[in-house]
Subunit: 305 residues, 4 copies
């Protein structure tokens, strides 16, 4: 049993399950207009960003989450120039996008200015200067409305937002209507990537519903996953595109693309990892096929909070 520490962060995973983290230091805590914001140093995972009581990323393993979210989609496009990031408060998604030399513009739109500012100040290991890159632009707006109103088109759109909890700001960015808006904002070879909830057997319905909902808006949908230990439960992602399918890239092709476009600094993602990520266990594939639910603005999906 953990000893010595007396301050604990309990992340509720369900009404009957929680993840217990010793708090080494509480660095910042506030209620923004949109969510509760905590930055704490956790004993096993280092600094972590916690929104509405759920870990968004931790120092130890954020590289797994961000490399997974960004690079398969970026490599699925021949030469992405314009990239749009929904959310991505910590600036790490931006950091990974900016590794790609073809990128001329990376526009990050996050609704919560206070989260971004606080991450900028307290989590330098995440953004590593990405916010100051001349190609980067950050705007504090409702990303859905921005995409509805703009004429711009993007080669890659990365949706890096928190889970669709009932009281949170994210649930209208997981619907059929939103995915259609996103589809219209893509260039001809456009690709999107997003985090899609856990792939734990006890909780698959968010992941499978997002899959079916994406399929109503995109001809190609490629679900994939990664294990980010600070999340406790295994995590799902998805790439959707107008044609490109990351599952057609073999490990050798991916390693070549990484060498050309990114370089040697990745710690999680390479050809073998790429291949592994898009292979799903039998029970997950079965649930994906059996899922009938389409998430709509009028019939939103909420995850546990």
């Amino acid at each position: 049993m953990p000893i010595k520490n007396f301050r604990w962060f309990i992340e509720a995973l369900s009404p009957e399950e929680g993840h217990l983290h010793g708090i080494q230091r509480a660095l910042f805590s506030a209620q923004t207009p949109f969510q509760s914001l905590d930055i704490m140093e956790l004993g096993s995972y280092g600094k972590a960003l916690i929104l509405d009581g759920k870990i968004q990323s931790s120092l130890l393993d954020e590289f797994i989450y961000h490399e997974t979210l960004v690079h398969p989609a970026m490599l699925s496009h021949p030469a992405p120039k314009n990239v749009f990031i929904v959310g991505g408060g910590e600036g790490a998604t931006l950091r990974e996008v900016l590794r790609h030399p073809s990128v001329e513009r990376a526009l990050m739109v996050d609704i919560d200015e206070e989260v971004v500012n606080r991450c900028r100040e307290l989590l330098p290991e995440w953004h590593r200067g990405a916010f100051d890159d001349p190609r980067a632009e950050v705007r504090f707006l409702d990303a859905r409305r921005y995409l509805e109103e703009t004429d711009e088109r993007f080669d890659v759109i990365i949706i890096d937002i928190s889970e669709p909890v009932e009281e949170g700001p994210a649930y209208l960015l997981f619907t059929r209507e939103f995915y259609r808006i996103v589809h219209r904002r893509l260039t001809d070879h456009g690709v999107i990537a997003l985090q899609a909830g856990t792939v734990s057997l006890s909780n698959l319905s968010c992941f499978t519903a997002i899959h079916q909902t994406l399929r109503t808006a995109f001809p190609v949908v490629a679900p994939y996953w990664a294990t980010i230990p600070s999340f406790a439960l295994p995590w799902g992602f998805s790439i959707a595109s107008k044609g490109s399918d990351p599952r057609t890239f073999g490990p050798g092709a991916v390693d070549r693309l990484i060498a050309e476009r990114i370089g040697p600094d990745l710690r999680y993602y390479d050809g073998q990892t790429h291949q592994m990520s898009f292979l799903l266990p039998k029970y997950v594939r079965r649930h994906l096929e059996e899922e009938k639910r389409i998430i709509e603005d009028n019939a939103p999906l909420f995850t546990f909070h």
Copy 2:
């Protein structure tokens, strides 16, 4: 935050991290001569076997653990007749082994008679009658000593024991000396499989040390993994053999072997799952290569307790 429930099982994953489970019912609790034994019904995972405060398997996801531990090794052997199981108290490893029609004898040697008896009585969903199969034999002995003293040879040896905690009964079954004993008890095409600790970034050293230790005794060592959600952290396994390498089997070949030998009833393991399991993320491969430690009887490895 979890509500309503007031009885909680806290599994300590490290001094700074725990997994919190609501207890629906406490079915059995005792201290055996070897370890503490609890069978509880947990809110998110159903019934679970807990030894020394660590979850061994739960109703919801034991199929992931047991299919992963047994079938890749069984399929790596042309036609396994004699199978030896170290540990495997719940009888589920036995259950999976007995799916293979080539099996003539499955000898399970577990040191803790009380654990096996209690699982036999309270966890029928695990053994599903395997203990009563005419091919099965269960003996309550120290498996290491048994293997040291017997002349018998086995086609497949599955090591299904709890983690090597300092006070527990398992740590001498994770050493170079033990793996040599196991190697001598294999037939010419013999294969072994074992659970090898977590592959979480915060805790890789057990998995990597076991890998290097196996390499001192076997020409082929193929590490692999699975995510068993009730374990909280992703889990590592390894196959070691005299020649057969499961990584050479493509998904189509595995699916054919499963159809021939096992049938359609598996829920986790198939060709695609097989392929996925043996692919490891970049950082895990790197740690495996960099690991120097060999576990020996005189220099045992202990995991956190």
Copy 3:
């Protein structure tokens, strides 16, 4: 930080406060028609009865609760013959009542037969044979209805029930209407005693409201308290009567009465303890006076659950 134990009982004292107990053994758990029933052995307190997730009594300190609840009221009556116990499932209130030689009949009416049966079987240290005393009678009925319908009159009525939680069986036994029914069932020198919720500063309103409500039905109301450590928060009680006031008994008088009627076996209650119990801190007295609320059937009071 508590180590080694991994099973915990968390008693919620408020939405922001809990009491954490290591579970040594889970002896019994069930849902009765009225409440959840657990009998567990807790690390610091020994065996304990827990109803609806709240500790009712523990082996270590039940003597404090039961001596406090029973003897001041019993000694406030010249020679109690007929005693009525509302609730008292464990049989310990009965045990204390039966110490008094004047008692000819002790009728215990508890709504929950399963709780009483289970306590009878698993908590012998509580009843110590009281259930088998020829003077004792136990009936499984709604005590309020019993008192409404009977003609019997009692010298002492002890109300030993759990807190008035919204979903529980007890809240209609904390109202003005109920106290009037109780008053009518008393003989001329009749006295009642009851537990009245915590006297913790964070939570005084139950205790103070019960006080004002009793005053609508009885000419004499004497609030008092005791600290029962397993409850975490200090606990309030009250005596109400048709005339007798325990606060007029000095320590010497109480010691003499104890010697005459009870003997030397009490561990908590004597003259000095009696005097201490009826003295309340300044802030409690102030809140008692300022309280305006009267609890009624149509305006019940619910404590936190």
Copy 4:
């Protein structure tokens, strides 16, 4: 079960018992040369000072602790002019001492400058300007050494320090040798008061050993107690003096002294509370008499940590 909050402070009361507090805000956290220092706002108790993971005082009920510690001793002296405070970091003990108009000098000696400075800044409700009173003097020294080396004599010495945990700075201020030093520093009618650990039945040995140890150095020792809900367990105190015995003061006498010397602002302590505090339950008195242990520098007592 507490909901919504996800940050928790778990105060370990024993290896099998803890008190769980929701953290509203973490205001300050640091490791001083002597102990860990946290100032947090807890859900049920408001701001609280926590040293080495144990609550020292909380906004809701610090008045109970500080009025109890200071006033009985101050009133036991005819006209205290010089007062010495050992510890008392928050400045609230100083605040209560300075209510007495006879006081000409209140010297507070606390070993931990950082604790005092931080309390001064973040807990104004505690000191309420006491630190700036011209009669007050604060020095950051080892109080035991100060008392050993000084010639000064004091009318009242208040020992307001944390519990004698093994790793903490306080355990040498609970010994026979220390009490003798204190005795020598008193004027003829000198009185001391100190907190003496819990009086919970599960943990009485600290309180009873301190009692017997004080008796080796003082002719009059008067143990007393109070319930401070944020402490979870009931708390013990003791007054020791060269002759004055607070138990000889009746409630009327105490009320008159309070009116003369302090005024109407006390919330916990008055004549009735005084009388209540010095009355102990039967089992506590018995344990006090049966205790044989004397705490010495060479045989220190450590409380759980």
